[in-house]
Amino acid sequence: MLKCRQIEQLASDYLDKDLSFRQRMAFKLHLFICHNCRNYVRQLKITITSIKLMPANQIIVDDKTKALAKVLRENASKQ
């Protein structure tokens, strides 16, 4: 029987479907009887989707970016 600690360690593999059939069954059996782990796995799943949905619509162009971009453009023009 898996312990809660092992469920925590295997949770990403479970959600990414990277567990063997046997491990998956043991994982599910634990979830069936443990509401803390059910909540944890649900929290992790929400976290992963939140990370994937993090907005990346804006980029920051600061002085450092402009300086490197200028050097690169000058180098490109020499070629």
Binding site: A11, T47, I59, V61
Partner: protein, 206 residues
């Protein structure tokens, strides 16, 4: 001075590259703003903080030299990451140094979550904000996620970024970062878990 721009100002990689080949300064600034932080993250993950910026800048120089030959077989992002990873690995061999990354990070925090029998110390509650949309709509939580991501150790940040944000396969990530599959999966889980714990702290205290 800092400007904020739309990351999709150029329609696709080809449009961005064409503009760069024409010497358009906005295109260079957009490319650097989009890709340089990712390249530094990859370099840090391979060789550590000290050389990362230099490696990323050298990688840009190589990329610019062969930009006109970029055939678009991969995305510009993947191409730049591969150039950076190769440069970092070459430098690592030259430096003949072992980079200590991520060791012991977060282990204490994880260990404290369980008792000696392996059960949760504290009950794990259901979150009040329990959809990703609700979480990201909360400015403070959105900020917590971004800040925790930025503070992750380099290898964790690189694996999370490549796997969850850019959708690279685990085998490609292992290849880029020179990691075993089991190490990469542990790093991915630690990174996700760090962010989950920060969200949980916020939701539990709210």
């Amino acid at each position: 001075m800092t400007d904020k721009r739309d990351s999709h100002f150029y329609e696709n990689d080809a449009a961005l590259i064409d503009a760069m080949l024409e010497g358009d300064s906005t295109a260079f600034e957009t490319a650097v703003a989009l890709y340089h932080p990712r390249m530094v993250t990859i370099a840090k993950a391979i060789i550590g903080e000290a050389f990362a910026e230099e490696i990323a800048q050298d990688a840009w120089m190589s990329a610019i030299r062969s930009l006109s030959e970029f055939a678009g077989r991969s995305s510009l992002n993947t191409w730049l990451i591969q150039i950076t990873a190769n440069a970092a690995k070459t430098r690592l061999r030259r430096e003949k140094r072992q980079v200590s990354l991520d060791e012991n990070w977060q282990e204490k925090e994880t260990a404290d979550r369980f008792d000696h029998t392996g059960h949760w110390q504290e009950p794990v509650s259901q979150w009040e904000l329990e959809t990703p949309e609700a979480i990201l709509a909360n400015d403070q939580l959105s900020d917590i996620i971004s800040k925790t991501f930025e503070q992750l150790p380099p290898q964790q940040q690189a694996v999370l970024s490549l796997y969850d944000l850019e959708g690279e396969s685990m085998s490609e990530i292992c290849n880029i970062l020179d990691l075993s599959a089991s190490n990469a999966r542990v790093l991915l889980h630690r990174a996700r878990s760090a962010i989950q714990q920060k969200i949980a702290q916020y939701q539990d205290n709210d």
